[in-house]
């Protein structure tokens, strides 16, 4: 592994331990807002403005981040099929 890759891995690991210094949603709030956030992020650049605290939560919670990626990819694939 290159020095750069090791450094990146280390910074990510440290970020998982320390989290972010900003307000974030809870897991329950994240689930409630997830569908709206996904559609906003696929159709506009307003997602983070309209759903404050979501991005910080997705950065801090690996399980919710996986749920976000899955829903985004499923909806995006469906939209592509409609076009």
């Amino acid at each position: 592994m290159s020095d750069q890759a090791q450094k990146r891995q280390a910074v990510d690991a440290l970020a998982r331990v320390l989290g972010l210094e900003e307000p974030e949603l809870s897991c329950e709030e994240c689930f409630t807002q997830l569908d709206r956030y996904v559609e906003l992020s696929l159709t506009s650049d307003r997602a983070d403005r309209e759903v404050p605290g979501m991005r910080a939560h997705l950065d801090g919670c690996p399980a919710c981040a996986e749920d976000f990626r899955s829903l985004r990819d499923l909806v995006a694939a469906e939209q592509e099929g409609e076009e």
Binding site: Q6, Q9, V11, A13, L14, V17, E24, P62
Partner: protein, 219 residues
Amino acid sequence: MTAPTETPAAVSTAAESRRWLERLSGNSAGRDAAVAELHALLLKAARFEIDRRRASLSHLRGGDHEDLAQQSADDALVAVLAKLDQFRGESRFTTWAYKFALLEAAVKVRRRAWQGREVPLEEAAWSTLATATAWTGRGAEDAELFTVLREEIENGLSPRQREVLVAVALNDVPIDVLAERLGSTRGALYKSLHDARRKLRAALRERGFGLELDREEER
């Protein structure tokens, strides 16, 4: 009547969502057909999720994947029908419904992947932490950062905060797997993790460490 800011696409999406709610509610004539149609959509979402996580389920036989998808779709259908009154029309109805199937499937896959596996002991986490603090580009600060962080994790956190932080942030145990083993919920454990992180950041700041991380975009 339509609000002036709504686009034709948004109007059509809202109408489609209303149709779903009408067909699924009460004793409407087409309810059985609508429920069957919804189940098919949820099954599609569950299969999508299980397919993308196939690598973590390599020990399962082919039929087991389909069983997991069916169970996920069944459980999601119950959840969606019970929560219809919570749909606020802020997304397509189908996007809202999909998230229940994806969640059911993801939780089942993570639990299945960890079935029979021990949650790693605290000791296993220290090497991860050592790696994390050795490559942050802080030079001589790095070794001290490891010592201080380990000390704060061992002595500054409550037992529950330490347990969750070590498992989820250092040993990569999925939070819902840990929740099941501890008889807790994902939300409650994430609150412990959040509080632990806040304590650690405050302790590091108090001891003179800067917290700026050169973190790259992950999502």
